[in-house]
Symmetry: D2
Subunit: 338 residues, 4 copies
């Protein structure tokens, strides 16, 4: 931590800061420049984070030197983490993982039909929601446990790992009984009770970035899960909220490179939410693979017109299949595979 | 709902849309202009919201006519809602309600000391957190039930209503036992499980706007609570996330007027989070009162340097007291009182 | 300037950085912490700003210590600047200045009618555009020099100082001939050619904040004008672009306090653009005065339905007059006057 | 244009709106629903755009049906526009165009050295600034005409088309004398005087998206140029300003698909500004090509440590060359070429 003092900070103010921080076991290192005096601290920066240094008289600016996350950082673990999803699929290696399926579980036959097609096209994880976080209380809220059962049985039947959203700490046990991978949605990225509860399981979890979460915020939320002992975390870029209204969200393609630099965790991209419109999903998916993500998650529905949720951003299976061909070629172009 | 068709939409496409919507009991009303054909629907717009009209062939644009919220709307209830907080304080009338106190309950004596001072200055609700949503898992997370007990006892002793945050649907019963008013934090504004659980109580609740929530999103989250039967909802503007980095958040002062127009619910402003810096809290509070809010919520701490959370944005009691004098004068200038 | 080095930065890398910076006459000050080595520089930070230190091998992070602006800073000049607008009006003192008038000059009689009414209500500057920056090339672009003549003659006749926008460096001389105050619009805040040209005049100028300009950016643009010798600069907060769509812009009320802290220049608020809707203008104006601005600028039109531009955000004269009464009372409540 | 009326709009209000709009030659089409009455207008929507319908009593909401741009729209011209840059390079066809070079012209030998290398790697346009829009008046502002001369002579010598920024309408003639392509920078996207002046030339122009410009705003600015008769316009996505601070800008990869849908103009991506950091440029460039852009613009410098501007985001020539190999493979994967 570095403190920049006001131009007219007094010696008494400097002394007061030093006394307060030395109580925490830190050693202050003062540097008097022409324009400003600066104090650097040697020792555990975490201790300092607890003190609101900004309010100490004489302080102009406080600048942290270290990132506030530990376990998720590339510094903590140099090599990319590999997350084993089931006996066949592993996220984080040379081979990308494709997750696909409808927004919601609607019924057994519909899900089965989509599952077969996405598997044939090369996906290895089936996604579908049973508990749906909807902006309106009057919208379809998902089939609940019934939906989980359908997802589980279809996954088993077709041979696909399954992922589904968990919204409530009270549902963790239930969802964990049926699904292979937990999904934490964007709106719950900072639902800390849920993060802790998931952290106490040992199942893989996909943590989606919140609509207005910085990449640092996303990493801090992942840190909650790892700090409870669950290291099987995959991050997911799914678009952020900006002033642009031509698309539902702005897919932050830069996030891939930034996450790769800062963290050892795999990064997945969801171009369905990242664009909000099926016509833009293929270009978003291609961009994500080209930029170097470890997996993608795409909404696919046999008949988007009849989808109970997110129809507007769902691809039909044939469009998904031809997208997969493009993605394979792009992955190859950059030395990866799908 | 109005649908604008593509310039080259075919008759078959139009027919397909009409058939699909007539099944829902809606009557289509076609208007063929020079440049575009438009379809308006007469009947319950809610039914249409469930269908992804954007994906129907021939559709260029879908424009909702009605707001998606009902119970929270000014149209549903013309008069301002009055929320009774305790025997002395009511939110939503001519008299503004001031909520103040430390970010967190830290100990009994500290809270008692602040409570006396804020009451003397004119506040009628004591705020303090027992469960704290912290970005980092390593930060102080609140005293939990012990904190609730302290808050309760101090509130009783001094004669102030109490408000505290509830983060988890499993804590609703516990928090409700000790506090007079629930607070739902910005990060939980779309924690729909929590909203429903609070909706099933009959206690007043302050619902804070999410960092990237539009005013419409905020109203939809309030709708969740009202739709469960709890009409005692107060909205809270606490700053949104923008590109500006000079302040922690951007206090959206326009939200006051917009909420007043669209909804009958009271609107509170939190200038502490809305600015993130104690030096800006007074100007933010004055602006909020002048703009017409129904209440304000301010962080006050005897010794911000030692605060376990949010010290940087806490006012000292004497600054709070002089702010209150300014606020009283401003309220009077616009025909209200504090 | 402070440089934080990578955990594994080598001695050779450190040496390379020091050699490069010593050439610029700076003295490096190395501090080796447990986790990171930090280099602070003593000497003129401006020189360092020219070098892309981020690209030097071993550098993790570069943190400036000083603000990049000089002449506009509170550090350069402790006391508030007073800008004399004409023989009667001065901006920046205890008395606030109110600027009002139609968006565009439309004709002589219309402007004269509005001018009389705003003067009677207490405004001291007449605003109206002759050159209009319109998003669409097909919209009304202003009357040009004819408009300037009308503005000038009405200002003289009624006894009001006049302000009007200048969009093009080639118009500076022309506009300066007719108007008392230059206005630089939000879209031209970083039109550096225009800033320099205005900087070479000695007339007061109102510089509007760009839609996505940080407060620092705004100050840097003002620095362009001051650095050419024109110190008669007033800043203007007029709303920024955010994700919120309920209002045309988000009025950043915090900007008032931030500017007052960082700079000696006066700050004006434009609640017409800051809200985009006449119904919200009064609450925005009241908030601005309560927050401590030095002036406001309000669009007023006799018949907004017929306005050639910005009708939606224009107040009628009687609404403006009653707003002025509220503003006077609020100004008094905080020890100022209008 | 469609007007939604208030629930309690009166017949007199409706009549007033109809009379006003019929004067403009539009025919109103009234549809009375259960909840709202709606008025649709048949005839030239442009006329209506001039009236602030929002302020008419009884009006709740105004919804435009048509896009406000004409000449730039896909509706006006179905086929992709091809922009001929010089005898060898054309933008908008199957073959992508790569523009590369240093941020600024610094001297002849440096530019010549870079030009040779980028040409060898496959670029066909040399970029370098002679007039630089800098946030600070104290930063390097470019070599001016001297820079233009160097750019021109190096372009001729090596056989590359040249592009350089023009910031001021008074420079258009001068810049046009030396460069093959005009560049309008992000900060000047709504410098309407400059747009008009460029519109009166017949040279190709690259129009960069403003930091907070929606895609619609970008198209409207292009419309200014086309409306003056210059159809040789290329759009450029270069990152937008959002809340994310880990990168200088957020590269809006979705913009490529949106522009392709709405307009016939080619779209170029600038990953250097779009990321702000050389380490992220390759992933951004790969994403852009995969998403379907028509060209990219990349900053390349022999020695970024010594660059007079934008060193932090400049690639070294060897990194650029290996990026080009990846881009060729990706282009091939999606049926294009570089």
């Amino acid at each position: 931590m570095i403190i920049v003092l006001n131009k007219d900070a007094t010696e008494a103010q400097i002394q007061h800061i030093i006394e307060r921080t030395e109580k925490l076991g830190l050693k202050a290192h003062i540097s008097r420049g022409m324009e400003r005096t600066i104090i650097g601290f040697i020792g555990a920066e975490d201790a300092l984070r607890m003190i609101p240094l900004e309010v100490f008289p004489g302080v102009e600016n406080v600048m942290p030197v270290l990132a506030p996350y530990k376990l998720v950082s590339r510094e903590f673990k140099k090599d990319d983490s590999l997350i084993k999803l089931d006996s066949k699929a592993t996220m984080g290696g040379k081979k990308l993982v494709v997750m696909a399926g409808p927004c919601s579980v609607e019924n057994h036959d519909g899900l089965l039909s989509v599952a077969k097609k996405i598997k044939a096209a090369g996906a290895s994880v089936l996604r579908a929601g049973a508990f749906k976080p909807r902006t309106s209380p009057y919208d379809f809220q998902g089939l609940g446990e019934e939906g989980l059962k359908i997802l589980h049985s279809v996954g088993k039947e077709i041979g696909l790992a399954t992922i589904t959203e968990v919204m409530d700490p009270r549902q963790v046990e239930l969802v964990g009984r049926y699904a292979d991978i937990f999904q934490i949605g964007a709106r719950n990225m900072q639902n800390f009770s849920l993060l802790r509860e998931i952290g106490q399981t040992r199942k893989p979890v996909l943590l989606k970035r919140g609509l207005s979460a910085t990449i640092k915020d996303l990493l801090m939320s992942a840190e909650y899960i790892l700090s409870e002992g669950n290291f099987e975390v995959m991050l997911c870029e799914r678009g952020i909220r900006t002033f642009e209204t031509a698309t539902r969200n702005t897919l932050d393609i830069n996030a891939i490179g930034v996450v790769k630099k800062l963290s050892h965790l795999p990064i997945v991209v969801d171009p369905s939410h990242g664009t909000g419109s099926w016509g833009l999903v293929p270009s978003g998916a291609r961009a994500a693979v080209a930029a170097g993500c470890d997996g993608i998650m795409v909404e696919v529905h046999d008949n988007p017109e009849e989808a109970l949720s997110d129809g507007a951003q769902s691809l039909k299976p044939d469009k998904f299949a031809s997208l997969m061909e493009e993605l394979k070629a792009i992955a190859k172009a950059i030395g990866r595979e799908i």
